[in-house]
Symmetry: C2
Subunit: 457 residues, 2 copies
């Protein structure tokens, strides 16, 4: 099909939607390192993990050889409520930038959770329901994951307890109301409702919280409440598996129009969006069938890939979770509160960490004022107010497109637009008022946090 036939938005039909998730690990030669039991330093067994996670999700977590997992019909029906998501040709942005580059983005924000998080939330809630559980606990940072899980639980009739990073809870009271509308309970973290929360508050009563803290609290409650399990919105292999639906849909849509991306860009906090978006493309690269450039974009204030260490670390601040081998800033690292919203996690998906370590992927970090500048340009020409997280990818996509303008290269750039910024107006207000500042941790800040890494190997 000729280039000029490509519509602004490419929607797949329901028949074309993926029927199985793709497990990227199956095609990796160097598999991601296993989770370790923090007491024994031995790989976590399925049995051990099942105290925290649903049994079926544990299977998915540990399986690094099966390439495809069928998506249960009930989940596929739920996906049809808000999927397929559009693959958008950014004609307006291209024109604004006067670039010869062709820019595409996969937009995951057209649902009430406002992001891609719903893709894994419904899967995790589904397996919890089918295990006969009463409810689940979780953490949320910017609130997107908590909202997504609330929606999924409400749909399936499960109870949902959310621990929300305190600075987000305060900056985003309306996120709490969305979760309440979907029947969830929301507690600011760290809180006095858990032993780990009380301990963290004792040490630092003024802490603005972190995903690591909130995870510790949610896990404690899940393990201590009969009929409950813990679910996590990013980082884990199972989450990347579910999020592969993003990349699979993208690839089907691009193949349909004979388009092949040269560069694939995604923001990276825990890695679920990026891992999902790149999955089928990275699979081709790993199998030697095609080559792509992949760029992970992280905030300069929380730069785990670009300035962290590839080492075993705790997934949470309270050190109650298993150890994961990943690029990490240390589980005691808490990014500055001036940093807007998500992408505040100290570590990174073990799968993405391994791929980055093996040179299959690049990473870069960007400062938030530059991110919001890109967000504003994008909002004005593409008509979507992007989430601050997604805007990290927009920033780098624009920069790559501007490089093409200089060199005259007609590269095809694909990026993940993970969500909308409707609940991030406090940050936009700061930006509009010229009061947004940048924060970059010093080498000493990072070294201090890394010093506390657990000793493994």
């Amino acid at each position: 099909m000729s280039e000029n036939k490509i519509p602004y938005k490419i929607y797949l039909s329901e028949d074309e939607m993926p029927k199985a998730w793709y497990n990227l690990r199956a095609d990796m030669t160097n598999k991601p390192a296993p989770l370790l039991n923090p007491a024994t330093l031995q790989p976590m067994t399925a049995q051990e993990l099942e105290g925290v996670f649903c049994a079926e999700l544990v299977k998915q977590e540990l399986d690094d050889t099966t390439p495809f997992f069928e998506i249960p019909q009930e989940i596929r029906d739920f996906y049809k409520m808000y999927r397929p998501s559009p693959l958008v040709r950014a004609y307006c942005l291209e024109e604004k930038l006067q670039t010869p580059a062709k820019i595409y983005y996969k937009f995951e924000g057209n649902n009430t959770s406002g992001s891609h998080k719903l893709n894994s939330a419904i899967a995790q809630a589904y397996y919890a329901k089918h295990q006969g559980l009463k409810g689940v606990t979780t953490e949320t940072g910017a609130g997107q994951w908590g909202t997504a899980l609330s929606m999924a639980c409400s749909y399936l009739g499960l109870d949902c307890k959310v621990y929300m990073v305190k600075c987000s809870y305060e900056q985003k009271p309306f996120r709490r109301e969305v979760m309440r509308t979907y029947g969830a309970s929301v507690t600011p973290s760290p809180s006095n409702t858990t032993a780990v929360g009380r301990k963290i508050l004792e040490r630092d009563p003024n802490t603005t919280g972190s995903l690591g803290c909130a995870i510790s609290e949610a896990v404690e409650v899940a393990v201590g409440t009969p009929g409950y399990r813990y679910v996590l919105g990013s980082v884990l292999n199972q989450v990347l598996l579910h999020q592969s639906v993003i990349g699979l849909e993208t690839k089907i849509a691009m193949d349909k129009y004979g388009v092949k991306p040269d560069v694939i860009i995604g923001c990276a906090g825990g890695g679920s969006n990026l891992g999902g978006l790149i999955a089928p493309f990275m699979g081709e690269k790993l199998r030697g069938e095609a080559d792509y450039r992949f760029i992970a974009v992280e905030p300069a204030s929380c730069p785990s890939l670009t300035r962290g260490k590839y080492a075993y670390d705790f997934c949470d601040t309270g050190a109650v979770c298993p150890l994961a081998k990943m690029y990490t800033l240390g589980s005691s690292f808490i990014p500055s509160a001036n940093h807007a919203g998500g992408l505040r996690y100290h570590g990174m998906s073990t799968t993405l960490s391994q791929l980055y370590h093996d040179g299959y992927m690049e990473a870069t970090s960007v400062e938030q004022t530059k991110v919001f500048e890109a967000a504003e340009v994008f909002a004005r020409v593409e008509g979507i107010l992007p989430a601050p997280e997604s805007s990290h990818a927009i920033r780098v996509a624009i920069d790559e497109a501007l490089k093409c303008k200089e060199t005259g290269e007609e590269k095809t750039i694909l990026f993940g637009l993970t969500g909308t910024g409707y609940f991030d107006l406090y940050a936009y207000q700061k930006f509009n008022d010229g009061q947004m500042s940048d924060y970059i941790p010093t080498d000493a800040d990072i070294a201090a946090a890394l010093e506390k890494l657990p000793k493994v190997e």
Copy 2:
């Protein structure tokens, strides 16, 4: 095509999108009554209207015989940024209600303005731009129209001054930030920046404002500033014309699947959504080609069709605008501040008023706690947090579907889901906290406002 083949969401391809707007008035035997000059009580001439509105829009406003107006290519390109909007088969809601009814909704909320308002905003901004204007002024109630216009103006490089109903301005500070992000200036109304605003404040310093007040201010500024015109987001014939894209897309999508609605339901404030949604269906009814039931849903706190009078009235509180013959509660009527968000306008589109008067359409009013109950049910099963305005239509669609459950009728119900409630969480919070109350104006309240109607005929 067989019934079970209907997907959850029907998206038209770009080729299938309407290329012309449909002017419902062309098929009306009793045309809507003309606007009158408030000084002479004679029909407003094009020349008089051009002091307030763009010339091309005045043509559209006055033309009640041309059935189709071609949509300029630049507007069609802008539409492609967020249109076609999905026509959704509400399988999940049907299952929840256990109704034999088949429910469809046309969802207009998948854009940053959060509503259908963008359809007319881009058209009005386009004609202003092509007339060589510097900018436009407008009013906004819940903020959707102001946001839509900000987006359209930013896209075309026009200045945009928004007067925002004070109670919305206070309840929705984040709406203001979206408009600012798109480069608009936003003033709470009534304000001290205009003569009419000062007069209204003098009379009632504690007023929470109304659309009627905000219109008066915006018109005053437009008329008094060289290179500016005023634009309006609802009520006018031109706006219903632009909004016909909603109904046209819906009809194309339904025809494609051989589906014919029995009942068509829309919320009605000024009438732009309802008028747009029903346009091509009402056209068929007027031409005797098909029959449909149409239901306008208005809030019990601002019931212009169900409790107002069909008479000439001012479109604004300050009485600076032309007179329109419409169902009205009187331009001095200000709905209770406890009423959430939009649908606060004292009058109704002259076109819809005439159709209602002639018996082509029904109207009903609903109380807001019932509306939010319906909104919550809908959000939980359909995964979209609806705007309070749209939820008026949801309420009646659910009630109609429940009637079908009683009678066993397999009716096809279509309603307009005009937008999302992401900026209405203050109202949702009140509802979640059990603190939302209902307000119904007394007969004396309404009689008092109607007594001040201008004497015409």
